[in-house]
Amino acid sequence: MLVRLRVDGEWREADAWEGSSLLSMLRDDLGLTGSKNACEEGECGSCTVWLDGVLACSCLVLAAQAHDRDVGTIDGLAGDEGDLHPVQRAFLDSGAVQCGFCTPGLVVAVTDLLERDPDPSELATREALSGNLCRCTGYVKILDAVRLARRRLGEP
């Protein structure tokens, strides 16, 4: 089944199995392996992408549902020159990355949060990230990374 979609600003076409999720299509048919598969049931957030600008678990989107739609992924987050997004840089600088499997989903979710709310409270941050599981960090340094990114993004 031919699915045509715009991924990270570029129109792409994939011949995906009809029962594929958007996640599988991104990873296996489009070679975009940045989004991860840790549960395939929408519980862990490792597969988080933007679908028409809105945060979604790509494992819960049927590949065909992305037809003619806009998808944003971790693979496209860094700048055109390859420079890291401030949220990516903040994760690095805060020690918020251990095994890193949850990191792509979290980076997308944090970027989304700070775009919608540039100065979120800690509680609002926790609620916004409640769909992203991490097994390594205990979330402490992830919250540090959000604070750091918030500060840096707020600087002129």
Binding site: M1, E18, G19, S21, E40, E41, G42, E43, G45, T48, V54, L55, A56, C57, C59, L60, V61, L62, A64, Q65, H67, A109, E127, A128, S130, G131, N132
Partner: protein, 287 residues
């Protein structure tokens, strides 16, 4: 496996009419899990997530909530101290709320579905549409058992409708951690000033969402005895909430499963119902 992407409701209904075994997909929060696990391989899937007709939300005299409205939109477009909002906020995560829909919650018909107690406490009708017309079923006739509904092949859930609430409401659910839980028990209490009624619906404590008529009658009487219908500041006796809880628990039919025990569910629904009544009565004072 055939996948169809209709652009209009009529197209979708036409596709469904021709394919009795087709499954509609909107948010995918249930069907995709089954597909990913290999538990289901439908012959055809019809994407209903592009149908603007299903995303309407009317609020004059009667609330008509389209099946395609997501939890995020419910959260964003409703006042905070209202059961519908509280239920939407309690669902999953931001990612799930952005995709999960009213129609999906109804179509899956899990006894743990978070919006269903709210619809039940509002005496909602479920609107069904097909290529041959429309029909409307009271919620309790729509939900026929755990994960089963009265929907027939060719039909789509168009939405739910109910009389505009004339009083405050509360929703609460118990789960084993602080976020991302399938409820172990849930409660919605709805006050109807116009009808001088209290309605309560409970979830995850029976094969379907249940109402508790004895508890509702008791609550009505307790408010009446206190002279509270005309004057919300006259609250029922302290013991009324606890008694209400007991009656709600008596109406529950919980089971043991991997998530919890029948004993805990009955206990928790009693506590939750009492708290929900107290909170809702407090909201009558405009707090």
């Amino acid at each position: 496996m055939e996948v169809l992407l209709p652009g209009t409701l009529d197209q979708a209904l036409g596709s469904l009419a021709e394919r009795p075994h087709a499954r509609p997909i909107a948010g995918g929060t249930d069907l995709m899990v089954a597909l990913n696990r290999g538990d289901e391989r439908p012959e055809a899937i019809v994407d209903v997530s592009r149908l603007a007709e299903l995303e309407s939300w009317h609020r004059n005299g009667r609330v008509v909530l389209g099946a395609g409205v997501t939890y995020s939109r419910v959260l964003a477009d409703s006042p905070g101290d209202d059961a519908l909002t509280e239920a939407a906020r309690a669902v999953g995560s931001p990612q799930i709320r952005n995709r999960g829909t009213v129609g999906g919650n109804l179509g899956t018909a899990s006894p743990a579905g978070d919006l269903i107690p709210v619809l039940a406490a509002r005496d909602a009708d479920i609107e069904l549409v097909s290529a041959v017309g429309r029909r409307s079923l009271p919620w309790h006739e729509f939900l026929t058992g755990p994960k089963t509904t009265a929907i027939v092949p060719g039909e789509l859930i168009a939405g739910a409708s109910w009389p505009t609430p004339t009083g405050p409401s509360t929703f609460a659910k118990v789960g084993p951690r602080n976020a991302m839980v399938i409820s172990i028990c849930s409660v919605c209490v709805q006050v109807d000033e116009g009808a001088r009624a209290v309605r309560v619906a409970i979830g995850s404590v029976g094969p379907v969402v249940l109402r508790a008529p004895d508890a509702e009658a008791f609550a009505h009487d307790a408010i009446e005895e206190a002279g509270g219908w005309g004057d919300p500041s006259r609250r029922p006796a302290e013991t009324a909430a606890a008694r209400f809880g007991e009656l709600v628990a008596a109406a529950a039919r919980p089971i043991d499963d991997v998530r919890s025990t029948a004993a805990y569910r009955r206990h928790a629904v009693r506590v939750l119902a009492a708290r929900a009544l107290t909170r809702t009565l407090g909201r009558r004072l405009g707090g």
